[in-house]
C-alpha cells in the first residue's frame, strides 16, 4: 500500500492506482472529462490536472499519474480551477449549447463541469469547423459539433467491444470521429452512446422521447442471450424508452436496441382458441377452460403420459419450475423437455459423460430466513462438489485464462459477454488466443492462431489438437485424475496427426503450434457454441471437447474451464430447474432425488425417465403408441427453430391437442388449439440463470397489457386440470424451488452457482466418440446455419432496432463463389437441399471460404430450417434466383 495525502487527507492506496482513482474511491471529487473507469485513461482533456509534490512544477493529470509514497496532492487551488476553467472554455467556445433539445441534457458531463466551475461566459470567439459526417448510422445519431474529442467512444469500441468501428480522423483542431469508409465494422452495440460524456452520439430510438430526469429506472435482466446482462429499463408513462447497462457500460445491440419487442404490433394481447379450424380471440377464462378441457380429454382417454410438456429457454426459472412440477407432480411422469435439447443439453450430457454427474455434499438448510431470491441452503466448511457443473466456467474468470481455444463458436453473435471477456484477456501480454472455425469470425483478428477447419470436422480437429499436445510435450499427462487415458491414446489418438489435419483441412504446423500453446497453458479455457453443438452429432462433438479439456484442463487455476454457450437468456436455467426428462431440478437423479420432492409436493415423483424432445418427435414420426396426443408448449417455437422444418410441422399436426403459451403467434402457435399470450421482458418478475450459472433477478417495470406471466397461466391451467398450485408471486415459487435444489446453495442475485466456497474434486474418464464425419444432403456447397449479432432467436425480429440493422436473411458467400454463380451482392440466390428450397439475397464476404455458405436462422419468411435435416449443417445447391 502507498501512503499519500490528497488535499491534506491521509490515504492508503493500492500500488499502481492513479491519483484520480484514489481520489474517487475516497470520496474526493476531481473534475474530469475524458476519464471513464471502463476504459484506459489517456490524460487528454487535462481537466483533472492536480498539483503534485514532489513532482514537476507543471500540474499533472490525476487520471494518468500513479500514486507514490509520500506524495502530496492538491486538487483544488485557484491556479487549478483557473486552468480547468480555461480548458472547459476551450471546449465551450464552439460547443453548440443546444441543451434545450439535446437528449443528453441532465446527464451531460460538460453541463456539470460548466456549472461546477461557474463559467458564465466565454470571452472570445473561434473559427468553427464544419461538421463532416462520413456515415449515417441507423441507430446512432451523430452530432459532430457537440463532440469534445475526448476519445471515450474510440477507446471503448477498440479496447472493450473490440470492434474498432470508429477512430479519430485528421488531426489538430480538425480532429473528428469517423469510420474510415471501408465496410463499417460497427456492431451497433451503442456503447459509444452511453460512454459519450456529451450529446455527440445519440440513441435514435430514445431521441426526443423523454428528458433524462423524467425516467423511472427499473433494474432487470436482458431477455436475449445467455450472457445475463443486468440492465436498467427507463420508462415513462408506461412506455419503455431505453435501456442502460448496469454496472458496466457494455450491452450488445440486441439488448440496447431490442426492447421494441415489448410494443411490437404483432404482440398477442388476447388469448386465441381454435374455432372451425381458425384461431379466434377469446377471454382468458374461455381460453383456459378450453385448454383444460382439451388436455383433460386427452388425459382421460390416453392417460396423463399422453401429454408432453415442452419448456422454453426464454421462460423464467419460476415458470419452468412450475411447468415441470405440473408434469411431474400433477401428471406423474417425466415426459418433458425443451429446445435446449438441440444444443445446451448436449453440452451438459457430453460433459457429464466425461466428468460425471453433479454431486454436492456439505450444504445444509440454514436456520436464518434468507431474503428474496436467495437460497436457504448454506455452504458448510466441508462442502464438496464434483461432476459436470463444476467444469462449467465462470464468465468473470474467463479473462484470467492464459489460453483460450474457441472452437465451433462465433463468440460475439452467440454471446457478446464472452467477447468482452476475451477483450479483457487480451490485455494480459502472456495471453494466447486460438480460434478454430470454418469461417472467419470477429476474433480471428485478435487470435495468435486461426484454424480454419472443414465444416463438421470438429472431432477430427480435436483429435488432432490432443495429439499435438502430446507431441509438444512427450509424456504429457492430464492434470486431473483421468481414467482410460492409455486406451484412449491407443484407440482414438492412433491416427497420425498429419492424417487428421488433412481430414480436418488444417495445416499440420498450425495444429502443432496450437498443441504447443495448449500444452504450455496454465489456465486453458475452451469456448464452444452453436456451430459445434447444433450438429447431428453435437453430443459427440462435446464429448471430444470434454476429452480435450480432461487432457489439458487445470480447473484449479482461475479461468480454466469449459465455456459452452447457452443460446438464450434462460437456456441454462431451464435445464437447471429440471425441464429435462432425466433430471429433477438441480440435476438430481430421478432415482435418488424423488423423495424430497414427493414430500414437499405431496405426490409421488416417477423415477422413470421421460423421452427427450428428439425421441418424442421420433415417436410421432413412427406413430408409436407412446407418442403424445397432446402438447403443452411454454413458448419454444419448434417449427421455427428445430432443424427440418417440414418434418416438425408435419409431426406437430399429428398431435390431437396443442396448447401454446407465447408472446407472438409463432409458426408453432399457428398449429395450436389454444394460444395463451404471455408477459415478457420488462413485464416480468422472476429470475434467469445466465450461461455461467449466475442468477439474474427481474423486476416488472411495465404492466402486462392483457398478457399474463407464464407461471400464472400454468397455475390457472393446473387448477383446472385438478392439480391446484397456489403461488402469490414469482419469489414465492423461487423459495420453493431453491429449497429443493441443494446444488444452488448460496445463490443469490448476481451470484453464480456452484458457490465458490464448495471445494471441487474433479476427475474424469476419457470417453470415445464417433469419428465419422458426414454432412447430410447433396450439393456442391456446405451450408452452415448459425447466429448473427443483430438478432437473438426470433424475438428480435419483432423489434424495430435489430430489424433496422438486419431486416432479413442473407446468404453469406465467398466472392469467388458468387462470381462463379454470376450473382452480385444483394441479388437473390435459390438455395435447395434435399429438404426444401428458399431464395435469399447474397452478401459477398471473404469471411466465408469457398464451397461454404452461411445463413442465419432468425427469419420466418426465409426459414433456414426448411433446408436442414437433423443438423445445422447440410449440403445445398445454389443457383441464381
Amino acid at each position: 500500500m502507498i501512503n499519500l495525502t490528497i488535499d491534506g487527507k491521509a490515504l492508503q492506496v493500492k500500488k499502481g492506482k492513479t491519483i484520480l482513482e484514489a481520489a474517487l474511491a475516497n470520496g474526493i471529487h476531481i473534475p474530469h472529462l475524458c476519464y471513464h473507469p471502463a476504459i484506459k485513461a489517456i490524460g487528454s482533456c487535462r481537466i483533472c490536472v492536480v498539483e503534485v509534490k514532489p513532482g514537476p512544477p507543471r500540474p499533472q493529470p490525476a487520471c494518468t499519474t500513479t500514486v507514490a509514497e509520500g506524495m502530496e496532492v492538491i486538487t483544488q487551488s485557484e491556479r487549478l480551477q483557473d486552468l480547468r476553467r480555461e480548458l472547459v472554455k476551450f471546449i465551450l467556445v464552439n460547443h453548440p449549447l443546444d441543451c434545450p433539445w439535446c437528449d443528453k441534457a441532465g446527464e451531460c458531463l460538460l453541463q456539470d463541469l460548466t456549472h461546477e466551475l461557474g463559467i458564465d461566459v466565454v470571452d472570445y470567439e473561434a473559427v468553427k469547423v464544419p461538421p463532416h459526417i462520413d456515415y449515417e448510422s441507423r441507430l446512432i445519431e451523430r452530432y459532430a459539433t457537440r463532440c469534445v474529442t475526448c476519445g471515450r467512444c474510440v477507446r471503448v469500441c477498440r479496447d472493450r467491444v473490440g470492434a474498432s468501428a470508429i477512430n479519430f480522423e485528421s488531426r489538430g483542431y480538425f480532429t473528428e470521429l469517423g469510420c474510415g469508409h471501408v465496410p463499417l465494422e460497427c456492431e451497433f452495440c451503442g456503447t459509444c452512446i452511453d460512454i459519450c460524456p456529451v450529446g455527440a452520439l445519440i440513441n435514435k430510438l430514445f431521441k426526443y422521447t423523454a428528458r433524462s430526469w423524467e425516467l423511472t429506472k427499473t433494474k432487470t435482466v436482458c431477455p436475449y442471450c445467455g450472457g445475463g446482462c443486468n440492465y436498467e429499463v427507463h420508462t415513462k408513462n408506461g412506455h419503455i424508452h431505453r435501456v442502460r447497462s448496469q454496472g458496466s457500460l457494455l450491452l450488445c445491440g440486441r439488448g440496447r436496441f431490442g426492447f421494441g419487442v415489448l410494443e411490437a404490433p404483432e404482440r398477442l394481447h388476447q388469448p386465441l382458441i381454435k374455432k372451425d379450424g381458425q384461431l379466434v380471440a377469446a377471454t382468458w377464462d374461455e381460453a383456459l377452460d378450453y385448454a383444460a378441457r382439451g388436455l383433460k380429454e386427452v388425459i382421460d382417454n390416453a392417460g396423463p403420459d399422453a401429454l408432453y410438456g415442452i419448456g422454453s429457454p426464454r421462460a423464467t426459472n419460476e415458470a419452468s419450475f412450475l411447468f415441470q412440477k405440473l408434469i411431474r407432480a400433477g401428471l406423474g411422469h417425466n415426459n418433458l423437455d425443451s429446445p435446449a435439447r438441440y444444443n445446451f443439453a448436449r453440452a451438459l450430457a457430453g460433459i457429464a459423460a466425461v466428468f460425471g454427474e453433479a454431486q454436492v455434499s456439505g450444504v445444509a438448510l440454514g436456520s436464518v430466513k434468507k431474503g428474496v431470491y436467495q437460497s436457504p441452503w448454506e455452504v458448510q466448511e466441508e462442502a464438496k462438489g464434483s461432476g459436470f457443473p463444476f467444469v462449467l466456467g465462470n464468465a468473470h474468470h474467463l479473462s484470467h485464462a492464459d489460453v483460450i481455444l474457441i472452437v465451433g463458436a462465433d463468440v460475439t453473435p452467440e454471446m457478446p459477454t464472452y467477447g468482452w471477456r476475451i477483450m479483457d484477456a487480451l490485455k494480459n501480454e502472456n495471453f494466447r488466443l486460438v480460434v478454430a472455425n470454418p469461417r472467419k469470425t470477429k476474433f480471428d483478428r485478435y487470435a495468435n492462431l486461426n484454424l480454419r477447419y472443414q465444416p463438421g470436422s470438429e472431432r477430427l480437429l480435436l483429435i488432432g489438437l490432443m495429439e499435438a499436445v502430446l507431441e509438444a510435450q512427450p509424456g504429457y499427462s492430464p492434470h486431473l485424475e483421468a481414467e482410460g487415458f492409455e486406451d484412449f491414446k491407443k484407440t482414438l489418438l492412433k491416427t497420425s496427426l498429419s492424417k487428421v489435419a488433412k481430414q480436418a483441412g488444417v495445416k499440420d504446423a498450425d495444429l502443432r503450434q496450437a498443441g504447443k500453446l495448449l500444452a504450455q497453458a496454465q489456465a486453458p479455457a475452451i469456448i464452444f457454441g452453436h456451430d459445434l453443438m447444433a450438429q447431428e452429432q453435437g453430443q459427440d462433438n462435446v464429448i471430444a471437447v470434454a476429452d480435450l479439456f480432461l487432457l489439458i484442463g487445470q480447473p484449479c487455476n482461475k479461468g480454466s474451464a469449459l465455456y459452452p454457450i447457452a443460446e438464450k437468456n434462460n437456456t441454462r436455467g431451464v435445464c437447471d430447474v429440471g425441464v429435462m426428462p432425466n433430471y429433477l431440478p438441480g440435476y438430481q437423479s430421478l432415482a435418488e432425488g424423488g423423495g424430497a420432492f414427493a414430500k414437499l409436493w405431496g405426490k409421488p415423483v416417477s423415477d422413470k425417465p421421460g423421452v427427450t424432445l428428439e425421441e418424442m418427435l421420433d415417436q410421432l414420426e413412427n406413430n408409436e403408441p407412446e407418442a403424445p396426443r397432446a402438447l403443452y408448449l411454454l413458448g419454444g417455437d419448434l417449427v421455427r427453430l428445430l432443424p427440418n422444418r417440414q418434418r416438425t410441422e408435419r409431426l406437430l399436426q399429428k398431435v390431437r391437442f396443442m396448447v401454446v403459451q407465447d408472446a407472438f403467434l409463432t409458426d408453432t402457435a399457428r398449429l395450436a388449439d389454444v394460444v395463451l399470450p404471455v408477459a415478457i421482458h420488462a413485464e416480468l418478475d422472476g429470475t434467469y440463470t445466465s450461461t455461467d450459472g449466475r442468477l439474474g433477478c427481474l423486476q416488472a417495470a411495465l404492466s402486462p397489457n392483457g398478457t399474463r406471466p407464464d407461471w400464472q397461466i400454468i397455475t390457472e391451467l393446473s387448477q383446472r386440470l385438478g392439480y391446484p398450485m397456489k403461488y402469490g408471486s414469482a419469489p414465492a415459487i423461487f423459495a420453493e424451488m431453491v429449497q429443493l435444489m441443494p446444488i444452488w446453495a448460496g445463490i443469490k442475485e448476481g451470484h453464480r452457482w456452484p458457490h465458490k466456497k464448495i471445494s471441487v474434486s474433479l476427475n474424469g474418464k476419457f470417453v470415445p466418440f464417433s469419428t465419422e464425419i458426414s454432412i447430410p444432403g447433396e450439393g456442391k456447397y456446405t451450408l452452415i446455419v448459425g447466429k448473427t449479432l443483430a438478432h437473438s432467436g426470433s424475438y428480435t425480429t419483432h423489434a424495430h432496432g435489430p430489424q433496422t440493422i438486419m431486416p432479413g436473411a442473407e446468404l453469406k458467400i465467398n466472392p469467388a463463389d458468387a462470381q462463379a454463380l454470376k450473382v452480385n451482392e444483394g441479388e437473390p440466390v435459390k438455395i435447395s437441399s434435399t429438404q426444401g428450397e428458399i431464395t435469399v439475397p447474397i452478401a459477398v464476404t471473404v469471411e466465408i471460404p469457398r464451397g461454404v455458405v452461411f445463413l442465419a436462422d432468425h427469419f420466418s419468411d426465409t426459414p433456414a430450417n426448411l433446408l436442414t435435416s437433423n443438423s445445422n449443417l447440410c449440403r445445398v445447391q445454389l443457383q441464381k434466383g
Binding site: S44, V93, Y173, F174, G180, H181, V182
Partner: protein, 616 residues
Amino acid sequence: MIQHTQSASQTAADISPEALSKIEAIIARYQDQPGALMPVLQEAQDLLGYLPVAVQERIAAGLNIPGSEVFGTMSFYSMYAWAPKGKYVIRMCESPPCHVNGSENILQVLKQELGIGVGETTTDGLFSLELTACLGVCEVAPAMQINEVVFGNLTRDKIKQVLNDYRAGKAVDYKQLPYTTNDFRKYKQSPQELVVLDNVGVIDPMKIDDYLAKGGYSALKKAVTSMTPEAVVEEVKTSGLRGRGGAGFPCGVKWSFTRPLTATPKYIVCNADEGEPGTIKDRYIMEGDPHKVLEGMAIAGFAVGASKGFIYVRGEYYLSKYRLQNAIDQAKAQGYLGDKLFGTDFSFDVEVRSGFGSYVCGEETALIESIEGHRGYPRAKPPFPGVAGLWHQPTVVNNVETLASVPAIINRGGDWYKTLGTENTTGTKIYQIIGHVKTPQIVEVPVGITLRELIDTYCGGLREGSTFKMCQTGGASAGLVTADALDVPMDLASLAQVGGALGSGTMLVMDQSVCVVDFMRSVAKFFAHESCGQCTPCREGTPRILETLTRICQGQGQERDLDFLERLAGTMVDASFCPLGQTAPGPLMSALKLFRPEFEEHLKEKKCRAGVCRFA
C-alpha cells in the same frame, strides 16, 4: 491545419487488376510483420499515386486491421493522398524559415505560373499545388519539392525554368542527385577536426568500401569483440554525450536504464524525423555518411541488448531513405549487420521506416506509435520508452547526430570526446545557421561557439543591407534572442539563461525586414498545423493563437488580445500533454517580452514597422 475528408463516391475507384495484384503482393510481403500499415500504405501510394477507398479496404482486410484504423492513421499524416493528384505534386514550404525568406510571394508566383490555387491540379494533369509545413531544407529557403526533388532559393525565374523543364519531360531523378540541397564541402569548414561529418562529401555514400576505408565499422567491431555491453554504456557515459535531438538528455544514462532490463526483445530507434523547422543537420549525415548512423545504432544495440533497430526518417527525405536502405543492404551483405556479427552471438538488423508528414512524430513516443502503424499520438509518460517503448518493449530512442557521434567515442574513448565542447555540453555540435545571413550553412564545431562567430566567421555575416534583429535558436518552439545574446556560448545551459535554447542547434537569424508579429503568426501556423489534437489545450490553443495573431496582422486586433494571448500561452504551457503543446507558445511569450511595443503598434496604431503586415 488540415482537415481530411473522403467521400463515399471514391469507393467506385477503378483500379486495374494488375495494380490490385501488385497491392496484394505488397500486403503479402508485410503481412506478418507488426506495424506494417505505414509501409504498406506508402508503397501502395507510390504505386498508384493515391489511396482510393478500395485500396484502403484491401489493405485493411489483408493486414487484418480495422478500416477505421487505416483511415484514422492515414488522415493523421499530411503526405497520404486519397484523391488522384497531378503527375507532379508541388509542395511549397511555408515553414517559418521559408516564410521569412518570402515564401508567400513565391506561392503567388507558383499560382500564377501554374494557373491553379492550392489544392488544385492543372487541367493537363501535370501539376498539383500544395502547401507543406516544412520540408527540412531551410538552408535553401524559400523552397519547394516536386515529388521527391527539392528546388531551393526560389525566384520567379527559377520557378519558370523548373516548370518548363518538367513540362518538357525533363523531370529530375532524385536518386541521381549528389545531395538534396548543397555540397557540405562547399561550406566554410571549421579548422577543428570533424567527429560526425568527417566523411560527408569525402566518401561515396553509396559504397560501403569507402566507409570501411575510413575505418568504418571498426568501432562496432571493437565494441562487439572486445568490450562488454556495460563497458560500452560506461564509455558513452564518460563521454558526456548529450542527446542532439533537442532535449539534451545524457545518452549513456539513457542507455544505462535499458541495459539491465531483462525483457526481450529490446529495440533501438534512430529518430531521423528531423522536423523541427530550421533543422537540417541529420539529412547531411544520412545522405553523406549513412553507415555511420547504422554503426552507431548497432553499437547502441550491443550496449543495451537490442538486436533490432528502426530508423524513422521524415517522409520528405527521400534521398536519405534511399541511401540508408542501400547502406543497410550492403552492410548486411558484408556482415556488418545481420546475424552473429564478427563471429559473436550479437545480431543486429535495421529497418528504415518513413514518417509521412507529421512533426509531432519527432516526439519519441509519438514516433513509436507511428512505427507501430498508428496515429502519432504521444503517450503518457511514464513509462518511458527505455522501459516500455515499441510494442511496449524496452526501446532506446536516439537522434541521428547522437548515434553518429558514438563510433568516434568508442574508437577514441569517452575521455577524448569530453575534451571537446564545454563542461556542460561536451563534444562537437552541428550548428545550422539559416535566415538572413549571407550564406546559410551548417558547421560542425565543438560546443560553445558564439552566435556572432557562427554568423561572421562561417556565414559571411548578415546579408547585404541587413541589421540583426533577432534570432530564434534551437527551432520553432524555442524562444527568441536579441543582439544581447550574440556573444553567449551556444551550449545548453548558457542559451537557456538568455531565454533561447540549443535545441537542435539551429539558428534562424532575422533582420529588420521581419515583422515579429507576422513571424509569430507563421510560427503559430506551423504549430496549429502540427498539433496532433489529442489534448485539449494544444488542439484548441494553437488555432486560437493563430487566429488572434492573424487578426492582429490584419489590423483587426483588440487591445485585450495580448492579455488573451498570454492567457492562452499560460494554459498551454501548464496543461498540455506533450512538449509540442508545452513549448509551442514559448516563442510567442518571448516575443511579447522582447518586442511588446511592436505588437502594441499593430494594435493601437495599425502600424507594422517592418512593413510586412497590410492593414485593410
